[in-house]
Each structure stands twice: as structure tokens, then as C-alpha cells.
Point group: C2
Chain length 196, copies 2
């Protein structure tokens, strides 16, 4: 009784589409199934969206969060490595989890859905740039080992990307470690490993 209140038919359809396609892939789900999951008829689906593809694209536009990272990021940095890494890590996971299903779709159906991958990667990329600059700046301030800031930033980012994917299904794939425990421990390792 909680899921279908206050939603328009279009929204119900878009949400059902995202849920199912994220799980089974674009070609693994029929318009019939989507409509049924939304509690509506297939006809209604086509009346609203005209085509399956347009349904997904509309859903993507509507539910892919794209808030700017730049300000939030820049404003909260305190130039303490440990604290800043924690912030960045948490910001990253929050952002990724919001777009969890879109990201799954873009990974699974990359080949069929031109443009999707690009859009889900825009923000992680942006974060990567900000983050690399941050490392360079920390190096200049003498608060960080100066080695290869791009590689260091990449290591931190792919680590969090891996952690995110690992948790995606809910079925933690490698270990029983919680996201929070992972974040704390990994930040600790990087903070120690990068402090002069």
C-alpha cells in the first residue's frame, strides 16, 4: 500500500521500467511485464510513451539525478586528508546509490542504449577531476606525498567504484564487510599511506 500512492500513471510506468530493466536488461523485459508491474495495461504504456525505448529514455531523464557536485565539494573541504577523504568517499557513494539502477542499466545495456553510459559517467568523471586537483593542491601544501596524483586519485576512485558495484545487488559479493566499515578502513589506509 505504500508504493503506488500519489504517483501518476507515467511515473508508475517509468519506475517499473527502471526496476525491471535494471534487473533483467532492456531486452529481457517486455512492455507487457512493465505495464503489469505498474498496475496498468500495456495499452496505457504506449499511449503515454509511444515506444518502449522512449519510455526508458523518459525514465532516465526524470530519475537520473544530476545535481552539481562542484559547490558542495569545494565548500566542505577542510584540507585535512583524513577528513576530506571521508567526505569524498561518502559523497561518492551517496551519488552512486541514488543513480544505482540507471548505472546498472547503462552497464548492462551499453551496446543497445547509446548515450546512457556517457550520462551516468559524467558525474563520477567530474568528481575525479576535482579530486585530482585536490591531491595536487595537498601536495603543494606539503600535506601529502608528492608522487603521481592522477594514479593516486584513480586508485581511490576505482576502489570506491569497486565497492559500489560489489554492493549493488544487495548480495555482497566478496565479503561480509559493510559499506561503512569499508569506508572507514579504506580512508584510514589512504590517509596513512599518503601522509608524508
Amino acid at each position: 500500500m505504500s508504493s503506488s500512492k500519489n504517483l501518476t500513471s507515467s511515473e508508475k510506468l517509468m519506475i517499473a521500467a527502471i526496476d525491471l530493466i535494471a534487473e533483467r536488461g532492456y531486452n529481457g523485459v517486455t512492455t507487457q511485464e512493465i505495464a503489469t508491474a505498474a498496475g496498468l495495461s500495456e495499452k496505457t504504456l504506449f499511449r503515454h510513451f509511444g515506444s518502449k525505448r522512449n519510455l526508458l529514455e523518459s525514465a532516465f531523464d526524470r530519475f537520473h539525478y544530476t545535481e552539481g557536485l562542484t559547490k558542495l565539494f569545494a565548500e566542505k573541504i577542510v584540507w585535512d586528508l583524513r577528513e576530506d577523504l571521508l567526505l569524498i568517499s561518502r559523497t561518492y557513494h551517496e551519488m552512486m546509490n541514488r543513480n544505482r539502477k540507471m548505472i546498472l542499466i547503462s552497464i548492462k545495456d551499453d551496446a543497445h542504449l547509446p548515450g546512457f553510459r556517457e550520462r551516468t559517467q559524467k558525474h563520477p568523471r567530474q568528481l575525479m577531476v576535482l579530486f585530482t586537483d585536490y591531491f595536487k593542491e595537498m601536495g603543494k601544501k606539503g600535506k601529502m606525498i608528492q608522487a603521481n596524483p592522477e594514479a593516486q586519485a584513480t586508485a581511490f576512485m576505482v576502489m570506491n567504484f569497486g565497492a559500489f558495484l560489489n554492493d549493488l545487488d544487495g548480495t555482497s559479493n566478496f565479503s561480509g564487510v559493510s559499506l561503512e566499515a569499508f569506508i572507514e578502513e579504506s580512508v584510514e589506509v589512504f590517509a596513512r599511506g599518503l601522509t608524508p
Copy 2:
């Protein structure tokens, strides 16, 4: 002229299937396309394998490498953190790259191909266990910070998992950093971050 020599028809079909399905997903590729890519007729495909699904399963059995990690791993450890992390990282990437396409398939078509995911994750999981034990042992020897060995091992593994996925398509997603540069820098960070 290099690709189709010395291969049986079955092998050509299995390889074509793996290539195409890894790229476009199980439902995104037709048996016709697979046969054509193998330079054979669709009829031959069905004569050899009976069904599309069986083709993929046969391909998986034939080309999913499953060599034991245990011995190689245990024999080469020298109980020097930096050196051992390098070994583990390189072993991991070698293993993952060998099974690259199977892993992609298992990620993309998880929902349609029961059992595949499990099989591609068996070895990473095994490595994770060995690796966690290694950390515990290093802790006892006083060669490593004793904190949360599971979380530390997880951090290192998901980092490499993320790096692997990031490179999977060949289109390096986040940065221009090479795998080798990443490995060296990340090992350096972890070695410093985990040494007392």
C-alpha cells in the same frame, strides 16, 4: 588470416558467441549473427550445440579458466608487504583478464543465466580468503597494522576489481592512468598505509 586457423567449427562458434554476447548481451545477439561471425551457417551451429543456451554453456566450460590459485599464491609469498601486494595485484589482474569476457557476460546477463555469476566469482572469492588470512598472519608477525583485516583485504580487492572493470571495454573510463601505473601506485599507498 590469423583468427580462424587450426580451430574446429565448434571452437569458432564458441569464440564468436563469447565475443558477441560479452559485447551485446545474450538477448542482444542472434544465432544467425554468431554463425556468420564464425564464418559458418546457422544450421551448423544447431547441429553442434542444439540450442543457443547450450552453445553458451559449452563455451563457458571450454574457455573459463579455473586453474588453482592456492599453490602458486602460497609458494610465492615472501612476507614482505610491498612485494606480496604487488604479486597479489598482478595475479588478480591476470586471472581476471583471462576470464574478462565471461565476467562481462555474467555481469550483464546474470538474471538470464543462472549459475554463471557464481562461477566467475569463485576464484576472486577464493583469493579473498587467502588474502585475508595473509593479512592476519602479517599482523601476528608484527609486519602490519592490526586493525580490521577483513575490511583491509576487502578494500584492496574491490580496488582491483574496480580497476579491472574500468579497463574492461578498453575505453578507460575514469582516467588515462595505465593499469601498470595504477598497480604500482596503489600498492605503494597500501604498503605505506598498512606498515606499522
